[in-house]
């Protein structure tokens, strides 16, 4: 288990303050934050590249706050991969094994095992400049994994890849995690975080503002920043089914929500923007496929008008103008109809 207790670090013009969280063995932990929030600096501090000013860092109960980088048993994959350009793929992957008192056949076995998982065995004799971005990413992962690190730190591993490659790499990262590898992954990408994380920590200006499962964090955002990050209040864990070509998501059993997204997996997250939800006094025929009757739980002014919370079996947040709220005579505990289009329901696998 990796534990950060009140870690603070200072850099010119920036500091990380009182960072605390823990990552259990085998967990996939994502640090989510905007650029400039200090994510990469925090990752480098965990790896030992940045000095920790106060607080303590524990790995399996052992204090490694001031331990040498080389003895931390923590692997780090940089955003730009940092594959050594003057060494072949094999030499790159073998780099951490030097001085580990291994016979050459033991080394070969380790390299074979890791390159097999990452499907790069055929690349071993190639030079880095002949590899594609995705291949370089796999080489960097292999190089970090041959050390058998207790914690694997990933700095924006999917940021420089196109969408097809990204889903391939996501699957690969999940696969690595399933082998029992504990992963701490840093990203600014909401979808990436939600799709991979067992738990998420949100970093804002060098401070952790919320930690929890994706559902905890985005279902009940701790502050406006977290809500804004998701851009969405309507965030639910769902199971999905295909019924005659249509995807139906179930946040709870008796609330079937139709979506035009077709995720590959049968579970994940559902997101609906507040602005995409339409309210009406009675049911009416429209192009929207999702129509539910509900009860108003709460209504309050927001920056752009009124926010209405409606219970339809799940709590939905709708954003409407003040005029509309008056016209509809919105009252707490009053009945109301909720409509939204299937195309406004986003599904993210995870």
């Amino acid at each position: 288990m990796l534990e950060l207790r009140n870690i603070s670090c200072r850099f010119p013009g920036f500091s990380l303050t009182n960072i605390s969280f823990s990552v259990s063995n085998g967990e996939y932990f994502v640090l989510l934050g905007e650029s400039g929030s200090g994510k990469s600096l925090l990752l480098e501090a965990i790896a030992g590249l940045n000095k920790i000013k106060s607080g303590s860092l524990l790995l399996d109960g052992r204090d490694i706050t001031h331990e040498k980088i080389q003895q931390r048993s923590i692997g780090l994959v940089f955003q730009d991969q940092a594959v050594f350009p003057h060494l072949s793929v094999k030499e790159n992957i073998a780099y951490p094994l030097k001085g580990k008192h291994l016979t050459s056949s033991e080394k070969s076995d380790i390299i074979e095992e890791v390159t097999h998982i990452l499907q790069i065995t055929r690349l071993l004799n190639r030079r880095p400049e002949t590899l594609s971005g995705g291949e370089l990413q796999r080489v960097a992962l292999a190089r970090a994994l041959v050390q058998k690190p207790k914690i694997l730190l990933l700095d924006e591993p999917l940021s420089a890849t196109d969408s097809k490659l990204r889903s391939e790499l996501r699957a690969l990262l999940r696969q690595i995690n399933r082998t029992g590898q504990t992963i701490v992954h840093v990203t600014h990408d909401f979808d990436e975080a939600v799709s991979l994380a067992d738990r998420i920590a949100i970093l804002q200006d060098g401070k952790i503002v919320q930690t929890g499962t994706p559902q905890d964090v985005f279902g009940t955002p701790a502050n406006g920043f977290v809500a804004h990050f998701a851009g969405i209040h309507n965030f639910f864990r769902v199971k999905t089914k295909k019924v005659s070509g249509q995807t139906i998501a179930y946040p709870v059993e008796n609330v079937p929500v139709i979506s035009t997204d077709s995720p590959e997996e049968d579970s994940g997250y559902m997101l609906i923007r507040n602005e995409d939800i339409l309210l009406s006094a009675s049911n009416f025929e429209s192009s929207a496929l999702n129509n539910f009757e509900g009860i108003v739980l709460d209504n309050y002014p927001s920056r752009t008008g009124m926010e209405i919370v409606v219970d339809i079996g799940i709590r939905l947040f709708a954003q409407i103008s003040r005029e509309s709220a008056e016209r509809l005579n919105i009252r707490n505990n009053g009945k109301i109809w909720v409509h939204f289009k299937a195309s406004s329901v986003r599904l993210i696998a995870g």
């Binding site: 030992g48 590249l49 080389q70 692997g75 780099y95 030097k98 030079r127």
Partner: protein, 265 residues
Amino acid sequence: MKRLSPFQLAITLAAALILLFIVAPLAGMFVATSPSDLFSTARDAEVQQSIRLTIWISLAATVFFAIAAIPLAYLLARKDFPLKSLVAGIIDLPVVIPHSAAGIAILGFVSRDSVVGKMGSAIGLNFVGHPAGIAVAMAFVSLPFLINAARDGFSGVPVRLEKAALTLGASPARVFFTISLPLAWRSIVSGLILMFARGMSEFGAVIMVAYHPMITPVLIYERFGAFGLQYAQPVSVLFILISLSVFIALRLLARNKKQKTAADA
């Protein structure tokens, strides 16, 4: 053919004049030297010995001083420390001071009465009039070329690669020898060649420390003083030819190595 604008014409003319300015005196000297003079000079034992001596001393000075100069260049490229710009200025000093003055300074530094001279005497080494003294003088004026080239080379190595190596369990020394040094190697080699070539051609500083044994630039000066221009020219031409050949050969070697690495890829 496309017509040149007046401006393009002007800069082309300026460039041609400068090139002519460099080439003309050298070409004039080559033309004034007959092949038979050149041939007999090449067979002159004194000339042969001085050229061999010049090459060896410069080579030895380059290799010996590089051992400490390369780590210094790394330090300048990577670390921040107080008065760093002063240190960088001191390194450039030998380039801007008159070389005869540099020679006088070195003579004072290595003469028998100095601390260094006394230490040398203790092990039977007298710098003045000795190849070791010549090497010191050559190194003094040519070191900045190596240090600056190597520093640029190290600066060009991404810090992330060094950090990555550290997280992969490498010690700082291993990071230096397996990542920083190989990746900066091309600039370092180019610096070594420059230092070697500059050392070989040094006259002002060397003559203050050692008239004998006679390196070729001193020999050229002596032949000019004793016998006149006509006698100095063949040695000059020969030395230029040899310096150029060594310079070109080393450059080609460095380039071939690079091409070979590219071909391996």
